[in-house]
């Protein structure tokens, strides 16, 4: 018996922009039935871009197309009584609701967790906000930049003589969306094993404070010592760290590794390989030795592509990576061989490659990815399935409910 990982789970997404749509995408890409409820003008990410040929179009925003694969979409105006009725009935037939309204908004619409669980115990509601449902800052505004600054590792990213910089893209919101999916599938597991659902309160702020890559460890160090990580900190840069190669940059941990003699032979400095400093830790090497090694390394590296240099140093056990651009990623032989990209057909963009699977399972199956829905593409079919007649739907359209 084979099935997809999230098969049989119904997820209703009342989400916009990145966090909740990414949470919904993980469910949808692995077999859950995800229905997205959009405002009449669409999820704001449809207006965010980047767009095909840079022409604003609600059907060609890269951000939206990527985050909403495998979902269905209906539009619905939640400020109308009939709109609320539609969503309330939908919630009643779904297992998981994920949403990112400001704290208190769903309650004011009569769709809060208490209201929609008056007749059932098995609903899982996952709420994502900037700062959480409670606390002195719950109504403050958050954004990718501001939340990374306040709780992420921004304080340690960048040059100490310049301003700190954020991590790329929308990472804080992707991460928080993933954390929301984790909580929701945990709660769903409890429900399917006979327990109750729950209302999950995920903030981007706390997801950043618990971020594994240096933030949680840094907070622990700070608790232990009263000291903080800072920009410019490094575990050693002697012939290590990002350096210019023929076609970009390579980050190879050569001079600070145990393999300095082998490295020196590799770059054609057999003479230096025999030098006593070659066996010392980088902190104890003489300045002249370091200068000679650095100079020869620079010449060797600039003559090779970043991937060639990394392949050569990896072959003698040295850790390293090529600093790849998005174009490099898409042309990379490793990712191609592992089929991580997936062609997805769309009426506006044609067939283009998307990031496909995140992992490989030996049991559960996965289906070909389906493009993101057009705005309101499934409104008619969803309402029909709910029992609305054609004339009901015409009326709802006229009243600008759907």
């Amino acid at each position: 018996m084979t099935r997809q990982l999230f098969e049989g789970i119904k997820v209703l997404e009342l989400g916009t922009m990145v966090g909740v749509p990414y949470s919904g995408k993980i469910f949808a890409d692995y077999g859950a039935d995800v229905l997205k409820v959009e405002p009449l003008e669409g999820d704001p990410s449809r207006s965010e871009g980047p767009f095909l040929k840079d022409i604003p179009n609600k059907e060609t925003s890269a951000l939206f197309l990527h985050l909403n694969t495998n979902k269905r979409s209906i539009t619905c105006d939640l400020s109308t009584a009939s709109g609320k009725d539609i969503v309330r009935s939908l919630i009643d037939s779904y297992d998981i609701v994920i949403e990112n309204f400001n704290p208190g908004t769903l309650e004011s619409l009569g769709l809060g967790y208490e209201a929609v669980t008056s007749n059932r115990t098995d609903l899982v509601m996952g709420s994502l906000t900037s700062f959480g449902q409670t606390g002195p800052w719950k109504d403050f505004k958050g954004s990718e930049l501001v939340l990374q600054a306040m709780a992420g590792p921004m304080h340690m990213n960048g040059d100490p003589t310049k301003e700190p910089i954020k991590l790329g893209g929308n990472l804080a919101h992707y991460h928080a969306g993933l954390s929301l999916t984790y909580a929701c599938i945990l709660a769903r597991l409890r429900v399917e094993r006979g327990g109750s659902g729950d209302h999950i309160d995920q903030s981007v702020y706390e997801a950043q404070a618990g971020f594994r890559d240096r933030r949680a460890p840094g907070l622990t160090s700070a608790s232990y010592t009263g000291r903080s990580n800072k920009r410019g900190g490094s575990l050693g840069r002697t012939a290590s760290g990002p350096r210019p190669a023929k076609d970009g940059y390579a980050n190879i941990m050569a001079g600070t590794s145990k393999h300095v003699p082998a490295f020196l032979r590799l770059i054609g400095r057999e003479d230096l390989a025999e030098h006593p400093d070659a066996k010392k830790p980088a902190t104890q090497m003489s300045t002249t030795f370091i200068e000679e090694m650095e100079a020869s390394y620079a010449i060797w590296l600039i003559d090779r592509t970043k991937r060639e240099a990394v392949a050569a140093t990896q072959s003698i056990g040295i850790l390293g990576g090529a600093i790849l651009t998005v174009e490099d990623l898409l042309n990379d032989p490793h990712y191609q061989e592992r089929n991580v990209w997936e062609e997805v057909e769309h009426p506006e963009t044609g067939s283009i490659r998307y990031p496909g699977r995140h992992f490989v399972t030996s049991g559960a199956t996965r289906k070909q990815m389906k493009r993101a829905p057009l705005l309101g593409e499934h409104t008619f079919s969803v309402l029909t399935d709910m029992g609305y007649t054609n004339s009901d739907i015409v009326q709802l359209r006229r009243a600008k409910v759907v």
Partner: protein, 453 residues
């Protein structure tokens, strides 16, 4: 199988009764088992005491106090023990390790030895999940691939988290976070728009995603097993777990052939959008304005009448087009303010802004403290300290950290005897062989930790 059979109640943790074995190093694997343990799983760390497992408890780079203080002065607190004091057992006092290992158990076991492998295979019969994130060949050499283990326990869920995959040209590539960061396209993107990649810092991402995603997939696989009776292997390379986070850049390239450059603090339409200096040394506030009304409020709070009247900055589009000048002008105002006071003033007036907080400052965040994010744990070898806690709240399921980070080998006796059925005599033999215990042998330790001759 020890899977809980009785009906869970509302406040039960969802993974109560789930047993997890972990052979994990560095960040990603340990983070995965951290979040599994937080939601109820019993996580057993399988770790050698007769060899040093690198990048785990920091035992391969034990440093004396003075050196750690010097590193902290240079901005690195990665190995900073409580009060910088290594103590007699520094491997139990490492902050990187202790920030993920709370709630876990430690079982001394070296899977590369015959007695260790024997114990490990017994353990595999008793657990639901195995998590590992070693170089792929380590698991192959130890002879514990999924094909072998599933014969012992067909219900086993095994998560493997190599850097790049169990196949492909980069299968054998060795990497730290900083190298994976390069190969997933993120290092290039997170630099200064006018800078080079060597100006970024040691701030990475793929471990945080892979750990959480691994736990998510394990939970889904437990559900799959409830429905089908079958376990499975999950192969989740750090690199592949991360790539979808760059989806908008990848699709932009596919649609428009555009190769996104280093992004820094830029935004494609908001202005101002950046980090501005405030009063003091290296103090900053992030400000993100997405509407004209927000801009006017910002000017009012800063008493920046001239900026507000400047037609160059009147609309979102004109501010965006003149953003370099805008940012330069704005900095002249923000630098007069304390970042925390300005943050409160701006947010109360409705402007999206927040201070850049270092690790020490974040420990005093009123919001985190109000929500009980930090929790204290006491341990005789560490002391009583606060730790970053659980990053998700469930309104009807109160959840707390349960136990302090485990000392090396702390739970060996309990696990060997009670879970694996070793007799007192068999256990004593392992102790005498130096296979179990709570300390690395002297010859693996720096001189200052060895027993006096």
């Amino acid at each position: 199988m020890e899977t809980k059979q009785e009906t869970p109640t509302k406040s039960d943790l969802p993974l109560d009764g789930v047993k997890v074995a972990a052979i994990t190093v560095v960040w990603a694997g340990p983070h995965c088992t951290q979040v599994l343990a937080e939601w109820g799983a019993e996580v057993i760390r399988v770790e050698p005491i007769n060899a040093i497992q690198p990048y785990s408890r920091g035992a391969e780079r034990i440093a004396p106090r003075e050196q750690l203080i010097e590193m902290a002065n240079n901005g690195i607190t990665l190995s900073a023990y409580p009060d910088f004091e290594p103590g007699d057992e520094p491997w139990n006092r490492n902050p990187g390790f202790n920030s993920h290992s709370r709630n876990k158990k430690s079982m001394a076991c070296n899977i590369m030895t015959s007695e260790g492998k024997q114990a490990f295979l017994k353990l595999i019969k008793e657990v639901d999940v195995l998590v590992e994130n070693n170089v792929p060949t380590t698991i192959e050499k130890a002879g514990i691939t999924y094909d072998t283990l599933k014969k012992i326990n067909p219900r086993l869920i095994m998560l493997r988290m190599p850097a790049y995959g169990l196949s492909g040209p980069y299968k054998g590539y060795r990497a730290f976070g900083t190298h994976v960061e390069a190969m997933i396209g993120h290092h290039y993107l997170r630099g200064y728009p006018d800078g080079t990649p060597d100006q970024t810092g040691e701030a990475f991402t793929a471990d945080a995603f892979a750990g959480l995603l691994g736990a998510t997939v394990i939970t889904a696989a437990l559900r799959y097993r409830d429905l089908t009776g079958e376990g499975q292997q999950i192969e989740m390379p750090l690199a592949e777990g991360f790539l979808s986070n760059l989806g908008e850049f990848i699709l932009d390239f596919e649609m428009n052939d555009r190769v996104a450059g280093p992004q820094g603090n830029t935004h494609h339409s908001h202005a101002p959008h950046g980090v501005f200096p405030t009063h003091g040394i290296d103090q900053w506030i992030a400000i993100d304005v997405s509407e004209d009304s927000e801009w006017r409020t910002l000017c009012e709070v800063l008493h920046a009448d001239l900026l507000q009247k400047d037609t160059k900055f009147a609309t979102q589009l004109s501010r965006f087009n003149n953003r370099d000048a805008l940012h330069e002008e704005l900095a002249k105002f923000t630098v007069e303010y304390d970042k925390n006071e300005l943050f409160q003033q701006l947010q109360l007036a409705g402007v999206c802004a927040g201070p850049v907080m270092d690790d020490v400052e974040l420990l005093s965040s009123p919001q985190l403290i109000n929500r009980g994010f930090f929790e204290e744990l006491d341990s005789p070898v560490i002391g009583n300290y606060r730790y970053p806690g659980i990053m998700t709240k469930w309104i009807n399921t109160p959840n707390k950290l349960r136990t302090a980070p485990p000392r090396l080998g702390e739970h060996s006796e309990e696990i060997y005897k009670e879970l694996l059925g070793y007799s007192d005599l068999e256990y004593k033999e392992l102790l005498e062989q130096g296979h179990v215990g709570d300390r690395y042998p002297d010859h693996l330790l720096p001189e200052f930790l060895r027993a006096p001759q």
